[in-house]
């Protein structure tokens, strides 16, 4: 049984009343879920809150998951992504009313120093950032990403290509590969 099947089987066990199965799911999926949320937000406490909220939602609405419709990992990532976007949008709204809530932004990047990959990913448009994080760091297929982000498969492909090109542009003249995508 591969890992994905194991997660799905644990979820079915949890739906059937085995509460210990949720702890096992947490152990298996927490690191990747946290990594995704943290790479997107770069806010440790927010990322912890979002992971906990996602599992709380998974617990509360455990019967909503249907293994015939997709993998548990995709379902959980979708839950976390929606919570994250809602929370980030709410924060933006509050900050427009209350400027003292605006966090300290990093100063203008000095291009004499090398731009780190973190900076380059953070500068991607939100929609491209999610796609590239899921594709590269979590080995998700286009179908999985389309399900998580609730967008068509073609849009996933197009955003991925744009994100790759933009990262290359942001990282500057370090590229010497021949050919392009």
């Amino acid at each position: 049984m591969n890992l994905i099947e194991r997660e799905d089987q644990l979820m079915i066990a949890f739906q059937n009343g085995d509460d210990t199965a949720l702890e096992k799911i947490y152990t298996l999926l927490k690191p990747s879920l946290y990594s995704f949320v943290y790479r997107y937000t770069r806010d440790e406490q927010l990322s912890i809150d979002l992971v906990q909220d996602s599992f709380m939602k998974l617990h509360r609405y455990k019967q909503h998951y249907d293994p015939n419709k997709g993998k548990l990992k995709s379902y959980l990532f979708q839950t976390a992504y929606r919570l994250m976007i809602t929370k980030l949008n709410r924060r933006k709204k509050w900050r427009s009313f209350l400027p003292f809530l605006t966090p300290i932004e990093k100063g203008e990047i000095d291009y004499a120093d090398r731009l780190t990959i973190r900076d380059a990913v953070a500068r991607l448009p939100d929609k491209q950032r999610a796609v590239i994080l899921l594709f590269y760091y979590h080995d998700m297929t286009q179908e999985d990403i389309a399900e998580i982000l609730d967008i068509p498969k073609g849009t996933v492909k197009s955003r991925l290509h744009k994100a790759i090109q933009r990262l290359k542009d942001e990282l500057g003249g370090e590229f010497h590969e021949s050919g392009s995508i």
Binding site: P99, T102, L160, K168, E174
Partner: protein, 83 residues
């Protein structure tokens, strides 16, 4: 997608692989209440909203002169209405 778009992007893959995330230890059930979360957001370092004004000479002058002008205007208004 028939081809991996990262297949030829050796340098980009190398850079992306540099980003390691340290996953902290935390329980599944949150111990922090909503109130704690709100306090955390309010207490986190934030930028000075007046800074764009005071960082220029003109802005600083306006900030110093504005109270004087406002006081003068209020005085005139009172003189007009009550005399």
């Amino acid at each position: 997608m028939n081809q991996d778009p990262f297949k030829k992007e050796h340098y980009l893959r190398m850079k992306l692989d540099e980003d390691h995330v340290q996953v902290p230890e935390f329980p599944m059930n949150p111990k922090r209440k909503r109130w704690d979360r709100l306090v955390n957001v309010l207490a986190s370092p934030a930028k000075n909203p007046v800074e764009p004004i005071i960082s220029t000479t003109t802005g600083l002058v306006v900030l110093k002169v504005a109270p004087v002008l406002a006081g003068t205007a209020l005085t005139f208004i009172q003189l007009i209405f009550f005399l």
